[in-house]
Symmetry: C2
Subunit: 136 residues, 2 copies
């Protein structure tokens, strides 16, 4: 799969998974996201009510390297595919960059239009798009 096609798969897919590294080992969580150019944005819906920042946020603040994955599963394994974006994440608590990320998310997901997004945004500068499909 070409980098161009891998990026297209992100544009077409509604849910991805974000992997980070930290002192407790790798962490992985599903995310909603939007793609703009060579950037993937996501956000934390709600500030945690206790315990400080979420583990994914602590991880990215200490080590900004992230991997983001979309994939398609089908019982017909000739239809399997995945696409991955590797890059560096910036956690943005406020300001125009956060507002822009939130606007992109609200534009992509009608579900966000009626709910608050109170936590930080995460802006991933993608350095590499890779992918694979079984039918190649």
């Amino acid at each position: 799969m070409t980098p161009h096609e891998a990026r297209s798969r992100f544009v077409e897919t509604r849910v991805a998974r974000l992997a980070t590294s930290g002192p407790q080992g790798p962490h992985i969580v599903p995310i909603t996201f939007a793609v703009e150019g060579e950037t993937i944005v996501t956000a934390i819906d709600a500030k945690p009510k206790r315990g400080g920042p979420l583990r994914r946020i602590r991880n990215m603040e200490a080590d900004p390297r992230v991997a983001v994955l979309v994939d398609g599963y089908d019982e017909d394994w000739t239809r399997l595919w995945w696409a991955r974006a590797d890059g560096h994440a910036v956690v943005v608590g406020s300001g125009p960059s956060r507002d822009h990320a939130v606007a992109l998310l609200r534009a992509r997901y009608p579900q966000y239009r009626d709910m608050p997004i109170d936590g930080p945004a995460v802006v991933v500068k993608v350095e590499r798009w890779t992918g694979w499909r079984a039918a190649d």
Copy 2:
């Protein structure tokens, strides 16, 4: 979501994602898998033809900590859920433990019955099952 329910979600789901950490940062890839007790097994279908072991294997041999995720996306966000297993992985190139893992995979996925599984098995001892669902 209780640990018991998180584990049940793994048993019911056909594809997961495996996150590892390594010198190039976090890595993430979709996997087929089987659950037995407090263990998740997966395998590499084919030995890489060049370039040595896959990155996920090199990562686990250097740092056995892994995270495995299953999730359900739905445009009705009251139906979102995910479950995660955190544990330690052992890469098994041959022997009874590898054969047992392969047998579990072939039992779960008819697709594997007619294809070779030439690479190592990965046996994850799960230390923690966690999960979340929107409707909680």
